[in-house]
Symmetry: C2
Subunit: 271 residues, 2 copies
């Protein structure tokens, strides 16, 4: 049992929770709670940590018995936990490695069902400078629900492996292919060359978001919560679309806007 906060493993978890830099250096991230730990692809689980009280309940003990795990005192678990009421279980999980082509499903031996769908008819969510980790996680969760086939985002967006992002994805992080581009405009251009039509939600959009035909390969461009899309990315859109708003509302929350667009594509595709 680990009892001291001076333990190297404890120090490592704390660093991984706190610093994106450490996560990317080690290519590992921290997930917390029963659902996120049990849904993690087994071959990517590098380590598991549970609290003393966690093990006291038999059905929980059974669920983790096939893993090798370390036990932490309850108080020590609370110090490494990112949540206010820890469930007493966390895992270190190896980062998945996707490339841009994975969003198109072009790679030989496609890794999962999402990519198979993407090869047939891509439906992509493309994110520029999303600030809030919770918003980002909600978008990934909604994307899976709406049947989107992949997510492209830039390096200035919130970290996809931030504890708050991970929590908000509710497991979708394990299943949605994503690619973090260092040059977002170049990546969008590459996708356009592959025949994907780009739609940007924009106040200047002439068409309502219900009007275009999304049954063909589509990408939805969603920008920063405060400032929207940059002129450069807006300029890459094939069509500007408008989400109608009543009253004095000037814009919608970015995750809400993304949800309306992706679910409209889903409706048209008759999934």
């Amino acid at each position: 049992m680990i009892t001291s906060s001076a333990n190297q493993q404890i120090k490592r978890i704390l660093q991984l929770n706190k610093k994106a830099k450490t996560r990317y250096e080690q290519r590992v991230f921290v997930v917390e709670g029963m659902k996120m730990c049990m849904e993690a692809p087994r071959e990517r689980v590098e380590a598991m940590y549970v609290s003393e009280s966690f093990l006291k309940e038999e059905d929980r003990r059974k669920k983790v018995q096939s893993y090798s795990y370390e036990v932490l005192t309850d108080s020590l678990f609370r110090t490494v936990s990112d949540t206010q009421t820890p469930q007493g279980i966390l895992c270190l999980v190896k980062m998945p490695e996707y490339c841009l082509e994975d969003l198109l499903g072009n790679t030989p031996g496609c890794r999962n069902q999402k990519q198979e769908e993407g090869r047939r008819n891509p439906h992509l969510l493309i994110l520029e400078s999303i600030q809030d980790p919770g918003n980002l996680g909600t978008m990934i969760r909604t994307a899976e629900g709406a049947g989107a086939t992949g997510i492209l985002m830039d390096k200035t967006s919130a970290d996809i492996f931030h504890p708050k992002t991970i929590r908000a994805t509710m497991g979708a992080l394990y299943r949605m292919p994503f690619y973090i581009a260092s040059d977002l405009p170049a990546a969008v251009l590459t996708l356009k060359e592959q025949g994907i039509s780009m739609y940007a939600a924009h106040l200047a959009g002439a068409l309502s978001y219900h009007q275009p035909d999304y049954r063909q390969p589509v990408g939805f461009l969603i920008g920063n919560e405060g400032n929207g899309l940059s002129p450069e990315i807006t300029g890459l859109a094939d069509t500007l679309i408008r989400i109608p708003m009543e009253g004095k509302v000037e814009s919608l929350n970015a995750a809400v806007a993304a949800a309306l667009l992706m679910y409209e594509a889903r409706r048209q595709r008759g999934l």
Copy 2:
């Protein structure tokens, strides 16, 4: 200029930001930032506070010149601010007073345009035990955008005057009629007696959310982020509807679900 944190007004702002109880005792809440202060109905602004640097820019000074305000040192303003990068302006605003009938627009001399619309064809968002203030604020913002006519919520939901809720409404708080019921089931029953059909998003729903006709008076029931709607409130729904989900997603974020339902009503109503 106020320079000391021992000043009674400073102590009052801190208490109002921190404690829902103080807000309801004094029937006053705190709003921060230029947009939220300028959009506050003038007759309800009880006090305005600005920071020293705020006044240094001429266009800002002009915007507040018709108000009476107190000036705070920059460091003192930071201590009363609820945000990490304060804009240097906050207001104390009197709470609006709505009753349940206001959601129906039945009261003589309806107060605003939303209530006039509600009298013609109510479109209500009904919230049970929403936990996250940011989620609640996002739902109020989306409700205005979707042309909903009012919000009914219970006392166990996050406080509508919590600083994080207020911020997420982006001003919609000033314009959406809302009623906080101490007995939510009774309030829902009253609305049903007025001819409003209740729809609950539920995994057991037989109809997809696109299928019912929302052009008649409707209420959408949305439950707690983790546990969904209680059996009691679910039992009051006329129809259970389902938001289809792909992959292994078990549910959507509550604000995302609310947005999809309200925007579907908006689409059908052809606003």
